[in-house]
């Protein structure tokens, strides 16, 4: 997702990461009890995980996250008017880049005076399941996060 942000920034595509609640609280990154702690965790996203996009932090009660469905790792794309034009309940860079390329083509077609009207489409996309990377993330949070995930999903 960082690479997509860099690739399309000059085309007028902004990217940001909104830090939410901790999906898998562990000893190192426990559940949030204060905004100060949440801001510290968010800074570690940049420093530890290497998130290079702008990171914005939701309120402690997750007002923004909850209003958008509170999935642990979802992605939305908005147009300049604030209308959501893409939403996915999980984040996958291939799916996001595919959508960005399509919407940039729409801009070009409009510049070429092509008359277009929006319509709805449903699509089932496929994301990479990298178990090794996922468990590395759990371990980074702490042994408690690993144990609880195994207990929940085997």
């Amino acid at each position: 997702m960082n690479a997509i942000a860099e690739r399309y920034a000059d085309a007028g595509v902004g990217s940001l990461f909104v830090y939410t609640n901790e999906a898998h609280p562990g000893e190192n990154y426990p559940h949030h009890t204060s905004m100060e702690q949440k801001l510290r965790h968010a800074a570690a996203l940049r420093d530890v995980l290497g998130v290079s996009r702008p990171i914005l932090v939701d309120s402690l009660d997750g007002a923004c996250h909850r209003a958008y469905g509170s999935m642990p790792n979802m992605t939305w794309i908005f147009n300049q008017a604030g209308t959501p034009i893409y939403k996915s309940d999980w984040s996958d860079s291939h799916s996001v880049e595919n959508a960005v390329q399509y919407y940039l083509q729409v801009l070009d077609r409009r510049r070429n005076r092509e008359r277009m009207a929006p319509f709805h489409v449903e699509r089932l996309d496929y994301r990479v399941q990298d178990q090794e990377q996922f468990y590395a993330g759990l371990e980074r949070s702490g042994p408690k996060a690993v144990t609880e995930f195994r207990d929940a999903f085997g």
Partner: protein, 68 residues
């Protein structure tokens, strides 16, 4: 902001009874309608908003997430 909401949203352990109630993508805003705007904070604690970001770009990709 109630203490109960803060505790439930910031659940302290990953067990279905605590995380499943928050998986509500089916209740999220529909596409093609004006999206709700919210305050958000930069890493140094300055307040901004979702609309401040989306209004500055032709398109804006917003990924929600945490460490895991």
């Amino acid at each position: 902001m109630t203490a109960d909401l803060l505790t439930r949203y910031n659940y302290d352990e990953f067990v279905p009874a605590k995380f499943e109630p928050w998986m509500r993508f089916d209740q999220s805003p529909p596409l093609a309608t004006r999206a709700p705007d919210f305050s958000l904070w930069t890493l140094d604690g300055a307040e901004t908003s979702l609309s401040a970001v989306w209004s500055a770009n032709s398109y804006t990709i917003v990924e929600f997430g945490s460490f895991t």
